[in-house]
Amino acid sequence: MREAQAKMQLEINGKPTEVGDDAEMPLLWALRDIVGLKGTKFGCGIAACGACTVHIDGEPVRSCQMPIGEVSGAVTTIEALGTLENLSILQQAWIDEQVPQCGYCQSGQLMAASALLRDKPKPTDADIDEAMTNLCRCGTYPRIRAAIKLAASKMGA
């Protein structure tokens, strides 16, 4: 029998949200299986690929290695970056450069890129290399780079 424990709450995309009672559960699985936000993807479980990247208080974090008991700030996921009806500049740049192929890594890529642009509104190639360590199996890197630069130019405009 499972012990009845208090349900934990986190602020997710601006709303207090119940995330279950297992403090050890990685944020990734709480988001996907408990909260039902499926935009954040499972890729490796060891923080090696970045498909699960979310923001905690604006900082990019690999949620597969972040137990919910240790989350200390507000969580933002791809679902809050923009919507089909109201795309962010970054998402529009991803469409303009026709970045995604299979698309599975792109939630994480977008979250990593949005954190980069907040810190460095005009990133150099070296900045992009350093911040964008997420894996893309389809090899869309050249287009990700182009889309980040396009978004940077639009945000600055």
Binding site: F42, G43, T77, W94, C102, G103, C105, L135, C138, Y141
Partner: protein, 759 residues
């Protein structure tokens, strides 16, 4: 089996035997199958053929029936229909549609005939033409072999055209105006004289009752509005907003979760297991044994995926011995043994290689041996499937490349007819050939027998995915050339030892059938290259080793091109020839090959003396695969931190470029895929188990390593080729040749990281 199914089977075979017709035009004339869309129309919606549905509110849905795994296939297939239906891509909805025999892939079967692509002799063409009816007979709906454009080219355009003609006929009756006087525009029929306009949606119900057209005249290429032009992909908005479109995102009422823990040794079973610790994990509800042709192990059922993963970790199992040598050394000894015996099959034999080598002085013979490793597919989305076995109906939701094969191979697991298995095809987070396999679906179905009708989503860990793949086969190749200083060699003799993909795939997919004849996937990219050498022999020996092997992006060519094109550079050097000049001479009978070689040389401004005495170097490679000719040049810089890949130039001859931007994206993707593998990927064995488990042991090229990539497309060849795979084969040899040019180090085994460092 009920009457309808018997009738369908009989009729299918009959229609195949009599007509062998493929075009949708024949669909109307002979109606060889029921239209699968008739079973799933929404209120008021009508269907014209298996590819087009129109609703009264003018919602136009195009069924593409090929898996979208990143290659952009659904956008271009939809554009084929939209072109003839005279609508734009933003006016339509694109759906994969149901698994059904109607959507068989004839081009994939045609390419599977055991003849080189360049052979257009009468007997070969006759044999090829027999393959589509066989595909139809087997009803294999599959996505692979870079075949979707070729397969869809006629039938998709014809289906759009047929629907448009019916809509015009309906408008003609409605308006009392001769059909010849009516025009179509943006989803409406227009009478130019009166200015009257009716939408397709308003006409659809009536149009669907009319006699189908017997003659279809397709648009001339010069009149194309969509095809031949770059389109914005229809799947991208969902992919930048995190929509739950992948198999792993499936969410159903009452759904429970699971994972698998399969034997880490292929062919072995559990000899002991204890599930106490697993069942003690909060949220784990059951541990069940799994025995399928694909593998042996356990399924862990839980309240959420994380609990299932923890349960799998806690499950205590002792596994038996693998039924192959436990260490790499013993495994590769099997390859050596195969290479030292007489070849099993000779796949190309121009001139008389045997005699000329026997007569030649040793000093003009150049010999080398190459080795390539096993490789995992490493799709970004780990293997997963959701299954529900309820009230005698089996439903499967899965990212997969072969839905009708799933129907055929899982129906027996629950004892229903294959047509009673509903396969729902989701978007795929990568495929690369991995999702032609049945294992991930079979395990989910077995587990669904233990959930009292509740759907179960079974997600593999990355570790399970990496260590239980159907790997790109390892291979060893012996080559020898008879040199001719200053010009091309007189003879080239190649003997390749590798396991047969077809044998392995059939063994786990259709254990009752035994495949006969040579397996061309072993020598694709080796026996069929556009080179003329007086004495040219390519022979193979099958290596019998029970490591599962499968179709990995570009299949045989993924490794044969590396061996062939690197050895050509070795020959060029010993013959004191420029690598480009030598290939131009070898390929002089093939204008398409010369076209891509000259184009890539122009793009990079090829100069054999490039960066002599510097740390930079360039390498060239050519490969013809899946009907597409690709030449690539890679430029590297051997820095103190290691090799930096700076540039890749790629020229591709595809015959007909239906969506140039997407073809460029596919070439870029294929290049990165090939470079990733060449740089650092390998699967190795120790203690009978795969050593690599996750991306820390089996990595992929990252942003900071990715070169600038330029692609140019040529369209002069008389046949249309594929796009998803042909970019991959030349990447490894072009990189290895560039490293040789920069460093003088000739690396004859992949991955290159075993002998050099990358920055």
């Amino acid at each position: 089996m009920n009457i309808r199914k018997i009738a369908r089977r009989t009729f299918l075979i009959g229609a195949t035997a009599i007509a062998g017709g493929l075009a949708v035009g024949y669909y109307y004339v002979r109606k060889p199958y029921p239209n699968p869309l008739e079973d799933e129309l929404s209120e008021g919606e009508v269907t014209f053929n298996p590819y087009v549905k129109i609703a009264p509110d003018n919602t136009i849905t195009i069924i593409t029936a090929r898996a979208e795994m990143g290659q952009g296939v659904q956008t271009t297939l939809a554009a084929m229909v939209a072109e003839e239906l005279d609508v734009t891509l933003d006016q339509i909805k694109v759906e994969h549609g149901p698994a059904d025999w109607t959507y068989f892939n004839s081009a994939m079967m045609e390419d599977a005939s055991p003849f080189p692509f360049l052979d257009e002799s009468f007997i070969v063409e006759v044999t090829r033409s027999m393959m589509p009816p066989i595909a139809k007979l087997l009803g294999i709906q599959a996505t692979g072999g870079s075949s979707s454009m070729k397969d869809g080219y006629d039938k998709m355009r014809q289906s759009g055209c047929a629907a448009r003609l019916l809509l015009i006929a309906a408008a003609s009756q409605e308006l009392g105006i001769d059909a010849a006087g009516l025009k179509t525009e943006n989803g409406s029929i227009i009478d130019p004289t009166s200015g009257q306009s009716i939408t397709y949606g308003e006409l659809a119900a009536k149009a669907a009752t009319l006699e189908p057209p017997s003659k279809l005249v397709l648009r001339k290429k010069s009149d194309w509005k969509l095809l031949g032009k770059s389109q914005r992909r229809t799947d991208i908005p969902a992919k930048v907003t995190g929509q739950p479109i992948y198999g792993i995102d499936v969410d159903l009422p009452e759904m429970i979760y699971g994972t698998v823990k399969m034997s880490p040794r292929f062919g072995a079973n559990a000899i002991f297991h204890d599930d106490k610790a697993a069942l003690a994990v909060p949220g784990v509800t059951a541990v069940i044994p799994l025995e399928t042709p694909a593998g042996s192990g356990f399924g862990i059922i839980a309240e959420n995926t994380w609990a299932a993963f923890k349960g799998a970790e806690a499950l205590e199992v002792k596994w038996g011995e693998a039924d192959h040598p436990p260490e790499d050394e013993g495994i590769y000894a099997l390859f050596d043994k195969a290479l030292s015996s007489t070849p099993h099959n000779i796949m190309r034999n121009d001139g008389n290689a045997e005699t000329v080598f026997a007569d030649a002085p040793r000093e003009v013979i150049l010999s080398a041996e190459y080795r390539v490793p096993w490789l995992a597919h490493a799709c970004m989305e780990p293997m997963n499937a959701t299954a529900r076995w309820k009230d005698g109906v089996l439903d499967i939701w899965a990212p997969n490349q072969a839905p009708t094969l799933i129907q055929m191979t899982v129906s027996g697991l629950v004892g229903v007819a294959s047509e009673d298995v509903n396969v729902h095809i989701t978007t795929l987070g990568g495929g690369f050939g991995r999702r032609l396999e049945m294992d991930f679906v079979q395990y989910a179905v077995e587990m669904a027998k233990h959930t009292e009708g509740k759907p179960i989503k079974v997600t593999w860990t990355r570790e399970e995915d990496t260590s239980h793949d159907a790997y790109r086969p390892a291979a060893k190749t012996k080559l020898r050339a008879l040199l001719n200083p200053g010009t091309i060699p007189t003879a080239l003799d190649i003997h390749l030892a590798t396991p047969s993909i077809i044998k392995s795939f059939m063994g786990r997919t259709f254990p009752m059938l035994s495949p006969a004849g040579p397996d061309r996937t072993m020598v694709d990219g080796l026996f069929d290259q556009p080179y003329t050498i007086e004495n040219y022999r390519v022979s193979t020996s099958k290596v019998d080793v029970n490591i599962p092997v499968g179709f990995w992006r570009s299949v045989g060519a993924s490794h044969t091109a590396y061996v062939h094109e690197c050895f050509l550079d070795e020959i060029a050097e010993k013959s004191e020839m420029d690598p480009l000049a030598m290939r131009l001479e070898l390929a002089k009978e093939y204008p398409a090959a010369l076209g891509v070689l000259n184009k890539v040389a122009e793009m990079c401004v090829w100069d054999n003396n490039f960066a002599k005495n510097s740390t930079r170097g360039r390498g060239l490679a050519l490969s013809l695969s899946f009907g597409t000719w690709v030449a690539e040049v890679v430029q590297v810089n051997a820095t103190e931190d290691g090799i930096v890949i700076e540039n890749v130039w790629c020229a591709t001859e595809i015959g007909e470029a239906l969506d140039p931007d997407n073809i460029k994206a596919q070439m870029m993707s294929g290049i990165v895929f090939g470079l990733s593998a060449a740089m650092g990927q390998e699967i190795t064995f120790s203690d009978g188990m795969v050593e690599q488990q996750n991306f820390d042991g089996f990595d992929v090229m990252r942003m900071h390593q990715c070169p600038t990539i330029e692609v140019e497309i040529l369209e002069t060849y008389h046949k249309m080729g594929g796009a998803g795979e042909p970019g991959t084969p030349p990447a490894a040899p072009a990189l290895a040749n560039a490293i040789y040019a920069a460093t003088g180090k000739r690396i004859r085994a992949l991955p290159l990281s075993s002998e050099t460092d990358f920055a």
